[in-house]
Each structure stands twice: as C-alpha cells, then as structure tokens.
Amino acid sequence: MRSIFRFSMLVFGLLAMAGLLAPTGALGVKEVKIGVIYPLTGGAAAAGRELRAGVELATKIANGVMADLPMTMAQNSGIKNLGGAKIKLIFKDHEGNPTLGADLAKKLILDDKVDGILGCYFSSVTKTVSAVCEQYNVPMINASSTSPALTKRGLKWFWRTTPHDKWFTKDLFELLKGLTEGKVQGVKAVPKKEIKNLASACEKTEWGSHVSGLIKEFAKEYGFKLRKSFLYAAKSADLSSEVRSLKASRADVMLFASYTSDAILMVKTLKAQKAHPKVIWGQDAGFEKPEFRSTLGDSISGILTRTVFLPKVVEIKKLAGQVNALYKKKTGNDLGGASARAFTGLQTWVAVLEKAGSTKPADIQAAANAIYIPGKELVVPWKGIKFSTSGDELGQNILGSGLIGQYQKGKDGKISLEIVYPFDVSSADMIFPFAGF
C-alpha cells in the first residue's frame, strides 16, 4: 500500500515539475472555470443569445491563437501565466429572475467550483448574484448591467467594465443641449421651447427605475420639463394605455428604457396610435436588438438609442472590424452593444487571470484592482479598462464611454445605426425632427 502511495506521489511530482518546466506545454494545461449567468430564455432571450455568442467568441479567441488580431489574448493559447490553461464556460439561465440568479450563483460556486463569474445583463439579477459572490469571496465581472447603484455598494469582489446609465443619460441631455446650440451635424440650432417637453416610460425593474430617476434628475439640471414619467412592467402584453398617456402629455421628446419584447411592443403601439414626437430615444437594451430592427422594419427610421457599440465603430477601429467579421461568421448578425460588451467582459476576465497568474481569489482580486487594458485592444470605443479602487464607486471601469446612434435608411435601402453623438465622431447628419411612423 505504502509503495503505491509513494509511486503515485512520485508520478504526481514529476507531472507537476513537467508542468512548471513547460508552462505552455500540453501537460500543464488545466481549466479555468467561469460561470456565466445570462437570461437565456424569457423576454430577453434574444439578448441572451447575443451575450452568449459574444462570450463564446471571446473564449474561442482566448483558447486558441489568432496572430492577426492585435489583442493580447489572441496571441496565446489559453492563459499563458497559468500554463496555457483553457477557459471553460458554464452557462446558466436566470430567466430574468433575481432569486433564481442568486441560486444559480450558489450552485456554480459550491457545486461547479467556478473560479469566477460573469454576468448577468439584468441589473436586478446582477445585484443578487454579486451579493452571493461577495459572501463567498468569489470574483465577479459584470460587462453589461448599467444600473449606477451596482458599483455604489462597496463590494470588494465585483468589477464592472461597462459605463453606467448616469453617463449614458447625461449623454442624451448633452445631445438635446447640442440640438439647441446647433452642434449636431446636419441640424440647425433648434429653439429650446420646441424640445422642452419630455416624457419617459421605463420598465420597472432595478435598471428601468434607475434610468427613470436619472431622467428626472437631469431634466431638472438641464432645464427641461418632464411632463410625464412612469414605470411599466416589461412583461406587459399590452401597452396601449401607457402610450395614450405618453401622447396625452404632448411631449416633444419621448424617452424609454425597455427590454426587447416591450421595446418592440412600445414602438408598435406608438405607431398604431400615430404618436408623433420630435425625438424618440431608447436607453439601449431592447432598442438595439437585431429583433427590434427586423420586426419593426423601416418604421424605426429616426429613432435614437444610446449604445456602447455600433457597426460604424468598425469603420473607425480595425480590431472591431476583425472581431465583427468573426462574430458575423458565427451568428449571421453584426456585433451589437450586448455582444460587444459581453466579449469585452470575457476579455477582461482573461486579462485579469493572466495578470494574476493564479486562480486564487485573492490573487484575482489584486489583479483586477490593478488591471489596465488599453483602448486599442478593445472592440468597444473606450479609452480602456481600469477599475476604480477608491471613492464611492468601487470596481467601476473609469475609462468607458457611450454613443448615441440613430436608425437611418442607407442608400442600399437597409436600416442601420449612424453615430450622432459624440459630435466629433458623428457618422451622418441627424434626422430631426422625427418624421413620424
């Protein structure tokens, strides 16, 4: 018995040494397990598919070698500093349910023994999942939840790469202000009284209700009048009384924070009710999904959405173009805000693991707090990724930024998003006022 024990110890020792001596060799390969929690079914299933495809593509690039992509993770097979360990994704479906999300996180941590977590898109779910991660000291990176409150809780195991709604909402008001000052490409200065009246309708979970609050806050700050503001259930099957209420407010500018099926329903109902505001703006999410475009067709021409990624970015950034080509090959769609950010989230995970050189939570924590990824390595048009480690926003990426796009019909007759804000990177003249449905 003892000799067997000794023999196996010897074999283990040799194997371990082989691993140390040949860090990229096949013998040293192990896995790093990342639990990925997304809404894969339910109203946001379309978004879930995009998120999943983004993460899978990034994993494929990280686990293989694509020398022509100018990003660190494409140069090595697996995590170099972990002996070429491959990333293994374990997907879970939270169905938009915060309680389920928390249960899944526990399951991933206790049963699957994941090294870290990525997710969860819905701010409400991210909130509960990050609380579980904090409890078990498991690092979590969030790439696409934009409720400002998430990074205001002083969590030590939570990092967020995406900019949040406060920045995005401010962008919108900067755009409106720009309209009155004649700064918008292709639009003469608009008298403020023509766009002074606002109305907002936001879905009523964590994310939407925060956006609604931010709109109120900024409307006051920028001197606009909010004539109507309400929350609705994203699962509503009918929004006609909501739309009548918006119309009744005689608002010049209508603002929305909606997930996919409700965004489509909202615009369909606006169209059926012949609503005619001068500006329609959506806070990303549903307003940017491929389904939004494919279901509603030409009628969305002129609608604005804030976003973090537009196909036009591809023309500005070579790397984005390359990744977009890979993504299109995989899914048939262009990268969107959800997929590009999910991609970036996994990329950040790889960079953090690379820097940590270990899967010990404490090492990952230290690495995440010290990480810096330059903007040129990212598909999203940010200055880079660097997390805040002090102040009231712990773990928030401080180098992100947003875009506002407008659906426009191109010469080829196809609807695509053109950049209208920031003004210095506009890709087309803005359509103003909204021409009606």
């Binding site: 006609s240 009384s241 209420s245 059926a272």
Partner: protein, 304 residues
C-alpha cells in the same frame, strides 16, 4: 378632450374584449357552481392556437378563429369528462384545488411545449392597423374587430340560453340539477356542453387577443383575475351581467387616461407625478373588493 374621448373608446373596446374572456367563466359557474381557475390557461391555449395556426399555415390570424373555437370546445369537453366530472363528487374545496391544479398543469405543459419566450404576431390583415376617428382619437383595428365579435358572441350565447331548448335545459341544470335530471334532462351532457361553450368562447377570445397582445405561458393568470373580477361584478352566472361588468372593468382600466385628462386640463403639476399607469389593474381589484363587501351576488346575479 381627445384624451377623454380616446380613453372612453379604449375603455369600451377593451371592456368588450374582457367581457368575452369572462363569458366562458360565467357560463361554467352558472351551470355547475364550479369556479374554473384554469380559465386564463384556456385563453392562453387559444392565443397559442391562433398564433401557431396563423404562422404554420401562413393564413391571416382572423381565419384561425374556427380552429381556436373547435380546440377550445374539445378541450372543455375533454377536461369535463376526464377530470371535472370526478371533482364534482368532492367538496367545494376539492373543486377549487382541482381546477387550480388544472391551471398549473396546463401552464407548465405550455411552458414545456412553447418555452417561456413572449411570442407575438407581427403580420396580419388587421395587425398594427388603426383608424383615426378625428379629434385625435385613434382606434386599433384589431381591438375594434375583437370588440365587434365579442358582441356577436354575447348575443349568440344569450339567444342560445334564452331562445333554444338546449338553453332551457342548461338553465334548468343551473337552477336545480337534481330536478332537471328528474325531468329527463341529461345533466351530464349539459355540464359537458357548458364546459365546451365556456372553453370555445374563451379560446376564440384568445385567438382574437393574440392579434394585439403577445403571449407567453404565464399570461393566463392576469386574465383569470380580471375575468373573476368581471364575473363577480356582473353577478356569478349572469350573461348580460358579464357583458355590462366587462364594460365597467374596461373603463376602470382606463382610469389613468381619465387622470391624464384632468391633469392636463387643469394643469395640475402634482398630478403628473402620480404614476397612475403603473396601477391600472389595481383599481379593478379595488372594485372587486368593494362589490364583494357591499353586494356579494354582484350587480345582476341571481344565484345566492
């Protein structure tokens, strides 16, 4: 002013649609004294039937109504002979829990088959169309069609119950099942017929509603609750009561619209900040509660 007229119209139309949803529930209750918790699930099945038939066969959703009616009628009869018949022997609580179980069963079956995603019709003769009645009042074509059909269905059911022999037999069964049996009325068949008509009318409503409302396996509960409120308001078992109460409930769901009218007419800023739209269904249950407390048999109810 357009806000007020618009809300009135919208309330009336949706009220007629909701009345159609409640019709089946009131028939089943009227005849058998059994409260069908799975009513909303029947509606959900009607919605899926309409949606899938239209998409599968590539026909206009309006043409799927007969299919939905047959599916609903058969479903009602199958449910009766396969399940409800046995429940009737048990106490009231067993009947309640039984239909509650049926609700859970149908819902989860739908979840298994269709998945939890919202599905909606995007194409169709009337889908997304609307009329401008002037004064800024816009009426959706699907809702108008739905409301019209609802009236037709009500008249048909009313005629069936009040002008035909079968109707008399149904009423007799409803009033006194034992007596009716002694008179030679096949009460068993009458019960099954009530379930068939109830199921058929609600699946028709579903196939109509799917023209403007998206469907998922959980949609039933909202309608069950509203249908209960309507039936309680109109009086359990009363067909005209269900219609009238449907209109009332339709108007109640439009309270936010009336609120907007007063807000902007009087320019009352404090009213703007009250999110009435978020509470539109709350008032339905408030009305339900008030009726339950003050007049338990409802406005037109004849059953004690």
């Amino acid at each position: 002013m357009d806000i007020l007229v618009g809300s009135l119209f919208a309330g009336l139309l949706i009220g007629m649609v909701l009345a159609l949803v409640a019709l089946g529930l009131t028939i089943i209750f009227g005849v058998m004294d059994i409260v069908n918790f799975a009513h909303g699930e029947f509606l959900m099945i009607g919605m899926y039937t309409g949606l899938l038939t239209a998409q599968g066969l590539g026909i206009d959703p309006l043409l799927t109504l007969p299919v939905a009616a047959i599916v609903g009628f058969l479903l009602g009869i199958i449910c009766y002979f396969g399940f409800i018949k046995f429940l009737l022997r048990g106490p009231m609580v067993a009947q309640l829990l039984g239909t509650f179980g049926l609700m859970l069963f149908l819902r989860n079956l739908a979840l298994l088959i269709f998945g939890s995603e919202d599905r909606a019709l995007h194409h169709g003769l009337l889908v997304g169309k609307s009329f401008d009645l002037g004064m800024g009042v816009i009426v959706s074509a699907t809702k108008l069609a739905c409301a019209t059909l609802s009236v037709v269905a009500f008249v048909a059911v009313w005629l069936l119950i009040n002008r035909t022999k079968i109707g008399k037999a149904l009423t007799a069964t409803a009033l006194n099942a034992q007596g009716a049996r002694y008179m030679g009325i096949p009460t068993e068949k009458m019960n099954a017929l009530a379930w068939g008509i109830g199921g058929g009318s609600v699946t028709i409503a579903g196939a109509l509603i799917v023209n403007f409302w998206s469907v998922n396996p959980f949609i039933g509960l909202l309608f069950t609750m509203i249908a209960f409120a309507i039936v309680a308001l109109g009086g359990f078992g009363s067909v005209p009561g269900a219609f009238f109460a449907g209109l009332v409930v339709g108007m109640i769901t439009e309270i936010p619209g009336f609120w907007d009218f007063f807000t902007y007419t009087f320019g009352a800023d404090w009213m703007v900040d009250i999110p009435m739209t978020s509470f539109k269904y709350m008032w339905v249950y408030v009305a339900f509660f008030v009726i339950m407390v003050t007049r338990p048999r409802g406005l037109f109810g004849w059953k004690q």
